[in-house]
């Protein structure tokens, strides 16, 4: 089952390159359904039999490639497959007016999925590096899709930042290989020490990954890239792509070399997260452009993920467990909510013909479902109940309390209020009655897609126990 999750997207990527004239629907949808089924089947298998490894081509570890699936991995695989299928349905409708872009979108889309699945399944640093590179190239390609000047500029900026990040990561990988003679994470974890070369390697890789995850103050490339891309692309980038580099960061700090990282360094990462929350929210509040507001909101929300490090390094096992659960839940909730938000904003922009916040008047009447999806996703982002975002916030708060780190507690509460401040700017204008412009009709499927994801973010508030139980089968990265 495991290799299928790489084979399916790669095969369909080939299909969409080789058969540019074939009807897109016939290729994309079956592939996505297959991928979803495969990841669900793998989840069931992991649930029944526990974590499993797969040797690609039958070669043993030092030589061959090992794919590793555990409870956390299958959660991420299923998340990816689910968000991908919804975004794809949206894209099928949305991209009808972009004939030229459509031809490049689908191959890039499949490569993106293949690299994401590869990253979730990889057990060694080199494969992670390859996955990360593939991911970067397909993501940059998708940002540049329209070929307009601003989007090309954003794409180039993104590319430079990502390549710089890769450089740091690769340097760290080299150092680690020189020291331990292997790149398999499990092998290094068994023999890793806290010597200087390991620490330098971890530091280099961390900086590279922070750059790729767009953690404050290295977030400069994200708003133009995510805010300028086409709606389904923005949704995929904010929901999934930035999470991949965060996932690797968490692996490094918590699994690979837990002894090599000092609690003080973890506090520094937490401080960066706090900076991201405050600065990102403030910038979101200042935006006049709707899509840029949502993009800055991503900068802010990524900050919460950084609290994993101070809350789980140098704290009690219970606090670390809570922090880990809270972070995973936040990752899931943000993926659903932010994808829903980008999709709903895409529909709003389509209906309005512009993306200026102050001219949203009349939206609540003319495009109510898109605004409603925006609202539901905002509930989760604000961390208000009932939603996955609230449960995540609750777990992080409990972890902060338990480990006596009240300062993160305060930041989390303030972050929620700042989020409310910027999302309610949108609602405030939407309730103004007199509309000054025409509204273009939009396809109902667009609303269905956004609502599905938004509803998932809310429902996660009631079924948070499921992913958490699945994860507990193998205590994935818990410190």
């Amino acid at each position: 089952m495991i290799p299928l999750l790489l084979i399916i997207p790669l095969v369909f990527a080939l299909f969409s390159v080789l058969l540019p004239r074939a009807p897109i629907k016939l290729i994309a949808l079956p592939g996505l359904v297959l991928q979803l089924i495969a990841s669900l089947a793998l989840s069931v298998q992991i649930y029944r039999h526990g974590a499993s490894d797969y040797q690609l081509g039958g070669w043993e570890t030092p030589l061959g490639i090992t794919l590793h699936a555990n409870g956390f991995t299958v959660t991420l695989l299923t998340l990816t497959a689910f968000i991908a299928i919804v975004c794809a349905v949206y894209a099928l409708v949305y991209l009808q007016r972009y004939r030229h872009e459509q031809r490049y979108f689908w191959p890039l889309f499949w490569f993106l999925l293949a690299s994401l699945n590869g990253i979730w399944l990889s057990g060694d640093l080199f494969n992670l590096y390859v996955g990360l590179e593939l991911l970067t190239f397909s993501a940059v390609g998708m940002v540049a899709l329209t070929g307009s000047k601003p989007s090309l500029r954003a794409a180039i900026r993104y590319l430079y930042a990502a390549l710089l990040g890769s450089l740091g990561f690769l340097a760290g990988v080299g150092l680690l290989y020189g020291q331990y003679g292997t790149l398999a994470i499990q092998d290094i974890a068994e023999i890793s020490n806290a010597a200087a070369p390991t620490q330098v390697a971890i530091a280099l890789m961390t900086i590279g990954l922070l750059l790729k995850t767009a953690i404050f103050p290295l977030h400069f490339w994200l708003p133009p890239a995510h805010g300028g891309a086409l709606a389904p692309v923005s949704a995929l980038l904010s929901a999934l792509v930035v999470k991949a580099s965060f996932y690797i960061l968490a692996l490094l700090w918590l699994d690979l070399a837990p002894e090599a990282v000092a609690p003080a360094a973890a506090q520094l990462l937490g401080a960066l997260g706090a900076g991201a929350i405050v600065w990102g929210s403030w910038c979101a509040f200042r935006q006049s452009d709707l899509k840029m507001l949502v993009a800055y909101s991503t900068v802010a929300q990524l900050g919460y993920l950084m609290f994993l490090f101070p809350l789980s390094i140098g704290t009690s096992a219970v606090a670390a467990e809570l922090a880990w659960q809270g972070t995973v839940l936040h990752l899931l909730a943000h993926a659903f909510a932010k994808a829903a938000m980008f999709l709903s904003v895409g529909t709003l922009v389509l209906a309005l013909g512009h993306q200026s916040i102050k001219d949203l008047a009349g939206v609540s009447h003319r495009v109510p479902l898109a605004l409603f999806a925006f609202g539901l996703s905002a509930v989760s982002l604000m961390g208000l109940p009932p939603s996955g975002g609230f449960n995540a916030k609750w777990l992080l708060l409990q972890s902060a309390l338990l480990s006596g780190q009240w300062w993160w507690f305060v930041i989390i509460l303030i972050g929620g209020l700042m989020t409310a401040a910027y999302v309610f700017r949108v609602f405030r204008v939407s309730f103004v009655e007199e509309a000054r412009h025409q509204f273009a009709p939009t396809h109902w499927l667009l609303d269905v897609c956004a609502l599905t994801l938004a509803a998932a973010a809310i429902l996660l508030g009631f079924v948070s126990q499921w992913p958490l139980q699945l994860m507990q089968l193998v205590p994935g990265g818990s410190g």
């Binding site: 409603f372 208000l384 009932p386 449960n391 509460l413 405030r428 309730f431 103004v432 009631f462």
Partner: protein, 499 residues
């Protein structure tokens, strides 16, 4: 079946909300039928559960959402007190809102959020632990915002912003309190139980518990409009009249007051709270709010603003009753939860009728309205006399029990507060009554929208007003009846004290 009933009570409104959202604005008949139908079904379900509770049946829905933390809906005698009030008044507010709003734009949106708001209120009343309470408490904030800004004017958007600033900050403080309590004493103490849960947990530091109590009360106190956190309530008066009725009588401030009751009775426990010494500060806070609200009400020239400050004052009677240690004081506080709702809803309906029929917003425009609109004015009079606390209205029963409770608790000063506040109530309501009935008409009405026909105004507006007026008198006259609010409050109160 009993596990599903609490979900069904919330589900009826939730389902109604979803269907109404999807209806086009023009589908008036379908929407109204659905609204009224859902309200009736809900009353039936609540009545069913109330009878069950009386016979000691258990209605509980429970599932785990986070490790160690359950989502619990459970009906107990206290929740039926609030659920009964909300479901009954929802019916009348819905009828009134249909008369008030049909014909204006965005009705589907309005009634959709209206139903969501009631679903959250039901959730608040049925929540079986603090965590679940918090969920619905915040959901209420979110579902009332679109109602406050419904008119989309500059003033209502400003009001909406003020409303959010207060309630979201209050919500964050409540979250802080709940997280602190769960983190400090474990999730088990959050389960609402008669006579409280905290006293059974050993080894807790009392000063920490007092601090957490303060944070929790502060969190719910914003919605309960405690001075100085009452600023949102008068500003939110720009909303349509049925929304004001909802905010003041059925849902929002009541959710705050109900939260105080839950925290004091079912988490800390009344006896344990008395031991901790937190009841006196709460009583003082309530007393200050009662006097301050009444003084502010005196200064208002707009009718709805005066009513708003009157709410600030009257809701704190509930908190005062809770803070009086002793069953009699508790009865006074609990029964006022119901009585204030019935009386205030009558007053707001009447104020809405004046505005909708004759365009009257200011108190000095009310001269001689009693002759033009006798039914509405009669209802207003009964509501006002109830607020002052004259027999045989519901307000008299509340104040009687509160007064005796104050003496029983050894807080004679609270009786003084009650007397002073009643005098102030009289000072701001009696001049209105004088204007209504005894002053001559001053000429043309400000903006006569509905001409007098068979009724003085639209029957959809008049009949709910008269119905709640009848309830105001009935709750007072029939207080000794087995199913009166008073009897139910006695039932609840007796169970909260240790034998």
């Amino acid at each position: 079946m009993n596990e599903l009933l609490p979900v069904a009570v919330i589900g009826t409104s939730l389902l109604a909300a979803i269907v109404i959202f999807l209806l086009p604005d023009a589908q008036q008949r379908v929407r109204s039928t659905l609204n009224i139908g859902a309200a009736l079904v809900k009353i039936a379900l609540v009545a069913w559960m109330t009878i069950g509770i009386y016979q000691q049946e258990l209605f509980e829905t429970r599932f785990t959402i986070l490790p160690g933390i359950d989502f619990v809906l459970r009906a107990d005698s206290l929740s039926m007190l609030f659920a009964g009030l909300s479901s009954l008044l929802w019916l009348f507010t819905t009828l009134y809102a249909i008369g008030y709003l049909e014909g204006s734009p965005h009705r589907s949106r309005f009634f959709g959020f209206f139903s969501l708001c009631v679903a959250s209120t039901m959730g608040i009343s049925l929540a079986g632990n603090l965590f679940t309470f918090l969920i619905f408490f915040e959901m209420l904030t979110l579902s009332t915002y679109p109602l406050v800004v419904h008119r989309g004017t500059e003033a209502s958007l400003r009001a909406g912003r003020t409303y959010l600033r207060y309630t979201l900050t209050g919500g964050a403080v409540l979250l802080l309190g709940v997280a602190l309590l769960y983190g400090y004493a474990g999730p088990a103490v959050g389960e609402f139980a008669e006579t409280g849960t905290l006293r059974e947990v050993a080894g807790l530091d009392t000063s920490v518990l007092i601090a957490i109590f303060a944070v929790l009360i502060l969190g719910v106190g914003v919605k309960a409009a405690f001075v100085p956190f009452h600023g949102w309530l008068p500003v939110a008066m720009v909303a349509p009249a049925p929304v004001s009725a909802l905010l003041h009588a059925v849902a929002v401030v009541k959710a705050g007051a109900f939260g105080i009751i839950r925290i004091v009775y079912n988490v800390y426990g009344i006896e344990f709270s008395a031991q901790l010494g937190v009841l006196l500060p709460l009583a003082v806070l309530a007393a200050v709010t009662i006097i301050w609200g009444s003084l502010q009400a005196l200064r208002q020239v707009e009718l709805k603003k005066r009513l708003a400050f009157s709410t600030v004052s009257q809701v704190s009677y509930i908190a005062l009753g809770v803070a009086l240690f002793g069953p009699i004081g508790s009865i006074g506080g609990l029964v006022h939860l119901l009585h204030q709702g019935i009386m205030k809803v009558t007053l707001f309906f009447a104020a809405g009728n004046y505005a909708e029929t004759l365009g009257i917003h200011r108190i000095d425009e009310l001269d001689g309205v009693g002759k033009r609109m006798p039914g509405t004015s009669l209802a207003f009079t009964v509501g006002a006399l109830g607020m002052i606390g004259l027999p045989p209205t519901a307000g008299f029963i509340s104040k009687w029990y509160l007064g005796i409770g104050a003496l029983e608790a050894g807080m004679a000063w609270a009786l003084g507060v009650l007397v002073l506040s009643s005098a102030l109530n009289a000072a701001y309501f009696l001049p209105i009554l004088y204007r209504l009935w005894f002053k001559p008409v001053r000429g043309a009405w400000p903006d006569e929208k509905i001409l007098a026909g068979r009724f003085e105004t639209d029957p959809w507006l008049l009949l709910p007003t008269l119905a709640t007026m009848v309830f105001t008198i009935a709750a007072g006259l029939l207080a000794a009846h087995a199913w009166s609010p008073l009897s139910w409050a006695i039932l609840v109160s007796v169970r909260e004290y240790l034998p």
